[in-house]
Assembly symmetry: D3
Homo-oligomer: 107 residues x 6
């Protein structure tokens, strides 16, 4: 778990104040992204799809940014994930995802 | 959109009784799964993650079965998706996914 | 609030064992369905859309049945609500709604 | 589908960059809001209820504004929808809807 | 129901403009928080957990603030609720809760 | 984490086939339910509220049963949690919770 990258500043705070939670998060993160067969990159796309399908603005933005920075996930790959969001979670979630992606691109 | 495989019997009914909805679904399906960069298979894994994260039992089961039948998605790949579900949607959704996978395996 | 029709048997139990909750439900129900401008029937369609969009099987079924019995809401009106569910909540919720409607029709 | 009205600026971007998704959205929109029996206006109220029940702030605001502008849906009709949201989705979603409506009114 | 504290300004507006809804809310609030066995304070922690698990930012913030002000719920008690959110609703909801708590502390 | 009690049979399977996930779950469980200030029992009530608010039938049932068996949580305490569910998540989630509780009682 790369501090300050994937989970943001919040994790540093947890590490300092609630070390036992932090330790569990590290273990959890290892267990999750140590997939036996799928690449970490594919799992990251799944995580992105799940947060976008929920219309959770800040979490979706964070997933997109860390996906782009850490795994060189491209804009078109994210749009391909958002297509699945459109089918499985509907228009409002898709629209929100497209808007967030657009805002990230402009910055 | 392969009738009776991905969307189940429901789609045939829609086709017969509400052809304009059916036509839109076909168009939608084409637009969604005609990803420019990601493989259809990866998009299917994303769809599986989204439905499992929602704890929707019948939809998750359907996604698992069609993923296995149409794309030869393996059990371990599904578990790798469920690891992401555990991290992003919590234990109850993960448990449900594991149980559904187990039931599919036994049949 | 018509006992045993809209809310099912559960309400009778609440009435008997937790009268103060029951009383609040009656008040709530009155306040909700005493819309100043929209008809009760239209509000019922909105309730149906909300439960179907959540993929909640038992609640959706109950809403469909009570809508049909109490307000003569037709099958095609329910399909029109499910079209909105498709757009705003995606394919799995739409499919589930269509399947439930189909099962109700066959009984 | 009226560009820039219902779906906001996002749709224009989709139209330009992902024409095949845009085309599917147009088809979908036609199939959804070409209800056989319910009026488009009633379907719009259902869409409003679904987004408000999910506490999705931006989507709810957009639905309220387009409902008011395109269909002359009144404030009291929206409150009647929010009453159903209160019953089926609870106080926080109702409160959020009332607050958004209030902010729209003041602008 | 303490106006302007728990439900915010919105309730005052409802009281003035839609007295029948307000009355139902008061009844509902009484029935809910007049638990026979659990303390109001414990119920408040449950309410906090439910809103945080949904990643609803404004509702979670409101619950935390009113919990702290009205019931002297401490920061560590809220973190203990967020631990349960981590287990049952996943990392994004937990992160959001921790961030909101952090922002409240700093003000 | 008591095998076969809280998480059901699924955990045994995870332990056998995916030991690294199991280990992470144990760590997570420890970190979550080792609250510094709140009792485990109160955290259990929060977990129950979260799953009931989501209308997840199997997860809610499991939480109720393990709460009753492991912590002697009473029926009336569960109803007090469901009151909060009624307020924060609406009637359908409340009804479902009451029905599940009723079924457990009868067995």
């Amino acid at each position: 778990m790369k501090d300050g990258v994937f989970y943001g500043k919040g994790v540093n705070k947890v590490k300092r104040e609630y070390p036992e939670i932090y330790e569990a998060l590290v273990k959890l993160d290892e267990a999750v992204f140590t997939g036996k067969v799928l690449e970490y990159r594919t799992q990251k796309l799944v995580a992105l799809g799940i947060t976008a399908a929920r219309s959770d603005e800040t979490a979706t933005k964070r997933q997109m940014i860390s996906g782009m920075n850490e795994f060189n996930i491209t804009k078109d790959e994210i749009v391909d994930v958002l297509r699945v969001v459109l089918l499985t979670a509907g228009m409002p979630a898709f629209n929100k995802g497209m808007r967030i992606l657009d805002e990230i691109e402009k910055n």
